[in-house]
């Protein structure tokens, strides 16, 4: 019986739940979106028509306001990813190497508590914090740091702060796991060979933590680029991100063709950025290796 099933369904039979999930919930919808992106919106009451296929929607995406929003979103996500990295590296280094193992769990739990809170709720929290008549504004004025009420809500800066806050745990977790790859023994070996703490960090700890850095950056950058809740709550009209505009096309404007073209463009641009970053990383590594290489060829025995 088992043999029959294996012969009919092939060795992939046991993987059915996985590939079915991928096919029905990823391949099919994404293909539909890709297909719709070549269509058009024929009239007020139809969301998409595919009787005439063209690249016209892409022309609309890569011009004017949409393009500038797409580029602004990319800037927010690249800066956001780098900020997350800059905050996470010292924190995870401290957590992985200085905090006693018994207390690490507590620290990680503290990192995760906001993450378990509803995304919308914690973003709304920042709306209260950053509002011109919020407590932060009042205190800063009382302390004389600000002359006028805090004017940051509904700007791109507010969105930038919000996304860093919202996506930070996604950077901290993989980085924490990676930060102690080197372990105390390799760090001691490095000190023993005359390297100070800073030298050891850059030559032993970080190179070995690179896989965690890469996965953390991908985990933060990709969803951040498409995020629209943070931008809706904190960005207002001037701080909108591409995700909001895509949602608008599907929900409000009922223009699925343009929305699809935007979604496909977003995916393509995101992949492009990841590919370029990967290439830069690879080139950087190759250069680093060239510089640190110890060549023994031609050295007489």
């Amino acid at each position: 019986m088992r043999r029959l099933a294996a012969r009919v369904l092939g060795p992939g039979a046991l993987a059915f739940p996985t590939w079915a999930y991928v096919v029905f919930f990823f391949v099919v919808p994404v293909s539909l979106v890709l297909f719709y992106s070549f269509g058009h919106k024929p009239d007020e009451y139809t969301t998409v028509a595919t009787d005439q296929l063209s690249f016209d929607r892409y022309g609309e995406v890569f011009s004017g306001a949409v393009l500038s929003t797409l580029l602004a979103s990319l800037r927010i996500s690249i800066v956001g990813t780098l900020l997350c990295l800059a905050i996470s590296i010292p924190f995870t280094y401290w957590l992985a190497t200085k905090v006693s193992p018994e207390r690490r769990g507590l620290m990680l739990a503290l990192v995760m508590v906001p993450f378990w809170t509803n995304f919308l709720v914690r973003t709304l929290g920042w709306q209260i914090m950053l509002s011109p008549d919020g407590f932060l504004s009042d205190w800063m004025q009382a302390l004389g740091v600000l002359a006028a009420p805090l004017d940051i809500l509904y700007t791109r800066s507010a969105v930038q702060i919000g996304v860093v806050y919202n996506y930070l745990p996604l950077m901290i977790l993989p980085l924490f796991v990676a930060m102690d790859t080197a372990g105390v023994r390799l760090r001691e070996a490095s000190y023993d060979l005359g390297a100070g703490r800073i030298s050891t960090f850059f030559r032993v700890t970080m190179p070995l933590a690179m896989p965690g850095v890469i996965s953390g950056c991908v985990l933060v950058f990709v969803p951040l680029t498409g995020d629209y809740i943070t931008a809706s709550v904190l960005g207002g009209a001037s701080g909108s991100m591409i995700g909001q505009i895509i949602a608008n096309q599907f929900n409000t404007a009922q223009n699925w063709a343009l929305g699809s073209a935007m979604a496909v463009s977003l995916m393509a641009v995101t992949l492009l950025v990841v590919a370029v970053a990967g290439l830069l990383l690879w080139a950087g590594r190759a250069l680093f290796h060239r510089l640190t290489r110890v060549q023994l060829e031609g050295v007489p025995a």
Binding site: A189, Y191, D192, L193, G194, V204, V294
Partner: protein, 384 residues
């Protein structure tokens, strides 16, 4: 960084160095180390001579590794001072000490090639690039690993990693090389080869080696002097033969080689004053006057007899003379060059005896056997 640069500046070529030993003399004075409530090192005074091969030997938890880590700078003594050639190291971090360590786990950097691993210390000491290549090649040559220069350490066997770890430490020309049980992960044959190699390197380089081990055979085979430690204290310092033949106390006697211990009481010397009887619960013993020097008659002591000092012959009638006993062989094992017997004496306790294979007198498991030993073989320690 200063001391490392200094040692690099002093650097001579390899051949020059072989002629003039550069090993440093270490001096530990009143060193104590406390971890919370636990005292790892009680109070250690130790002089390590320039260029000697010194082993720290003791059971696990005796503090030998802590002592080594304090010399390396990974732990700071709670009290006391560590000096190298008169220079106080106590406050220096590990990266400022002209000592290098071969770690038990080797601790090779997995992201670097063998050559880069070996070059690591030289680069940190800002040795010119051209010299780095030469010295790395030389060091790898020294441990016969030149052919592996471009490999990553993760793709090598334990023995190969161990050689690279040795080259990585030696290439910096440390004044003291610290070795933390570097052979514990190697199989017996490889360990014996590595022992010979370490002895050769020590002789060639003239460096001071401080070697931590729990393996007494290893310590006996390699060291100029051995420091036997227990419970965070030094029990005895001496050459291999001295420690084996004249252990300072019953701990050292029991830790180095096998021993048969028995509680005894010193009796009055015989008329000629040479042999001194010891009374025990079962077997009457006789030892030399030197062994009990300074112990009054009636002192409670522990007597020890090494298994290889006991001769085993087939039973030939009950004997009552001192230093003889009889019993049944309950265990017999062939150890290659010697045969080890476990004999249950007629009076109760079991005794271990080792007889050279060539002189075994046809005594086998289950037979009754007669044991005897010379008075010189009976060592006496004050009961603690």
């Amino acid at each position: 960084m200063t001391t490392h640069e200094a040692s690099a500046d002093r650097a001579l070529t390899h051949t020059d160095r072989a002629a003039s030993p550069t090993g440093g003399a270490l001096s530990l004075r009143g060193v104590r180390k406390q971890f919370g409530e636990h005292t790892a090192i009680r109070s250690v005074d130790l002089e390590v001579r320039a260029g000697e091969f010194l082993s720290l030997l003791g059971p696990s938890g005796c503090g030998k590794t802590t002592l080594l880590r304090m010399i390396a700078g990974f732990e700071h003594p709670t009290d006391g001072e560590i000096e190298l050639d008169g220079e106080d190291l106590t406050a220096l971090p590990p990266f400022r000490r002209p000592v290098n360590t071969v770690f038990q786990s080797y601790a090779l950097f997995p992201h670097l090639t063998v050559a880069e691993n070996v070059a690591y210390g030289l680069k940190r000491a800002k040795v010119p690039k051209a010299d780095i290549a030469t010295r790395v090649a030389e060091a790898l040559e020294m441990v016969r690993m030149r052919g592996f220069a471009e490999r990553k350490p993760t793709m090598m066997s334990g023995g190969q990693q161990q050689r690279v770890a040795l080259a990585r430490a030696l290439v910096n020309r440390p004044r003291v090389l610290l070795l933390d049980e570097p052979m514990s992960a190697l199989d017996r044959k490889l360990r014996e080869e590595t022992q010979l190699e370490l002895i050769r390197l020590h002789t060639d380089l003239g460096l001071t080696f401080v070697f931590v081990t729990h393996d007494q055979e290893e310590a006996l085979a390699m060291s100029d002097r051995i420091v036997v430690m227990s419970d965070g204290e030094i029990q005895q310092v001496g050459g291999a033969e001295e420690i084996y033949q004249r252990p300072a106390n019953s701990f050292v006697a029991g830790f180095i080689g096998k021993q048969n211990f028995v509680d005894a009481q010193v009796g009055s010397p015989a008329a000629d004053g040479r042999a001194v009887p010891l009374t025990t619960d079962h077997t009457p013993l006789e030892t030399t006057a030197e062994a009990v020097a300074g112990m009054a008659s009636g002192t409670r002591v522990r007597a020890a007899i090494r298994p290889e000092s006991i001769s085993v012959v087939p039973f030939a009638g009950a004997a009552t003379a001192p230093n003889t006993s009889s019993g049944v062989v309950v265990g017999e094992s062939f150890l290659g060059d010697v045969v080890q017997y476990l004999v249950r004496l007629d009076h109760g306790p079991e005794v271990l005896a080792r007889v050279p294979f060539t002189t075994t007198a046809g005594v086998h498991e289950g037979d009754r056997a007669q044991l005897s030993w010379a008075p010189e073989a009976v060592q006496v320690f004050r009961d603690e």
